[in-house]
Symmetry: C2
Subunit: 326 residues, 2 copies
Amino acid sequence: MAVTSADVAHASGVSRTTVSYVLNGRPGATISEATRRRVLEAAEQLGYAPSAAARTLRRGRSDLVLVVLPHWPIGPVIDTLLDHLADDLAERGMSVLVHHGRGTRPLADLWRVVTPRTVVGLTAFAPEEVRAMRRAGIRVVGTRIDADDHDPSVYAISQRRIGRMQVEHLVERGHGRIGWAGPTDARLAEFSEPRLAGVVEACATAGLPTPVLAEVDLEVGSARAAAAIWREAGVDAVAAYNDDVALAVLAGLRAEGLAIPDDVAVIGVDDAPFARLACPALSTISQAIDVQAAYLAAATIAALDDDDDHPPRPPDMLAVVRRDST
Amino acid sequence: MAVTSADVAHASGVSRTTVSYVLNGRPGATISEATRRRVLEAAEQLGYAPSAAARTLRRGRSDLVLVVLPHWPIGPVIDTLLDHLADDLAERGMSVLVHHGRGTRPLADLWRVVTPRTVVGLTAFAPEEVRAMRRAGIRVVGTRIDADDHDPSVYAISQRRIGRMQVEHLVERGHGRIGWAGPTDARLAEFSEPRLAGVVEACATAGLPTPVLAEVDLEVGSARAAAAIWREAGVDAVAAYNDDVALAVLAGLRAEGLAIPDDVAVIGVDDAPFARLACPALSTISQAIDVQAAYLAAATIAALDDDDDHPPRPPDMLAVVRRDST
DNA sequence: CTGAAAGCGCTTACAG
DNA sequence: CTGAAAGCGCTTACAG
């Protein structure tokens, strides 16, 4: 069915060896220009595309980097990161393919199906899974949440620190009774828990009472209920899990007739594109995603090269973006 | 380096044939239970994972579906669609991998690298690219914008109709001078142009003057400038390219001191999660993405089965979601 | 019930 | 400068 190199060889009257040399560039060089052209033309005309499977089998490795995305909804942050990663790796001749880790199939099936050269995890891998992949000759570059070890293949922004920064900013702005707006989606616990821990910790450090917790989904009703609870408790500032939740909080507070930031201040996380468009414009924590993406790309390339000199980890680059909601 | 079936055969004292039979299930059945168990144990213990490349080469096809995403930023709509697709195909033993078509590499490199069984395009493919893939034995399921032919492998929501629906709703709400807020990102032209065409068309049909065009990015400044233009022109309703742009429009109108919807009404497209949280809550056009995803999955499976009975195309399922901005 | 052998399409030493 | 041959790891008729 498909065109093979033998077809090209036949069409151009040379051996498969020559076809391969022409197409891939030979080590010792020198194919007559006429032959070269004939082969190239035949390949072009037949629409020859080398079999990836055969090439991978023969070479013992593929040019594929598999990025495994976490189970949670991906937003603009991940989106940007993937862009950068794909660009950086393309320069090295690698292709990036993405697995959205939400289906029912386990990861294992996946990397077996495609034999990637490297697997980049934007979610945590189970240790036995990492072992299995390594055993199959696959490099693994991971991220882990609040990693406390020094495995250089693991890079993670401290979620806890994000929570702390939110509270520190609110305190700086003169607030003293903090509320926390967590997500309802349980898949986000991996992130929301350490963020909340940071919030709790910073409250304690600042000598404030423990924050008043509420879960908020992306409906006004849910946010309004939370707003009522916070009002009851005298909360004057809310740290939200992320900008999405913060947007709902803003809507809930407005619905309850509370003034922002005078009655209650609100801060999110991510600096999503819509944050500056909220009313009032939303204060948030930005994560300098380009820097992270560049690091991840560098780490992936280092893994490619079998290089044990992992690139230096970038600083967290977290920053408070103050707008009108605080 | 990696464990092969020969290693498993050796460890369990049988031939590779038997290993393969045990692992894949043989056609003629019957392997002694003892052998079976021994092989399984050896495979498990050695951490055997069959080489995808070898298997694909031998079988002549892979179990991979490659989804090619367009160049534009992906939002919750695509996200949901991928979820459904991955789930539906997993049931058929297929794995879904996603290519974010934003890198610098052409698509061609990609499908050559992975030999997918099917390529599903959420963006339009060039005809010669489709030919090349088909020639390589790959099934192609595509979507195209405002497709006017009857190729059953092509499914597309009429973008033009979306624009028409926006205007029809605005007219129904008593508005007569329409503005159009287009995206600044040129990559979105594929969608924005037909949507705008629909808007223009509907204005003409309703006997309204041509809409007043403005480009709006996700900054208040840009939206505010647009708002000034519309005010000048006496615009009393704006159809926005999508909910993101609409959100910016809301912010721009607020900044200009215009009341929504009394001075100017606004309608978006997508029913993004944040739409109901905007102030005021944003009216929009929803696209029933589940239905589309199910269709795409069905079409992909039909292609898998070499089935020429393409599933019936679903109705567009477009609906106006009226909220407070109109 | 199990093994020896062929062959998928490619690349690459090794001979000419 | 170019070709014949081996071998990557797998599956599957075909013999026993």
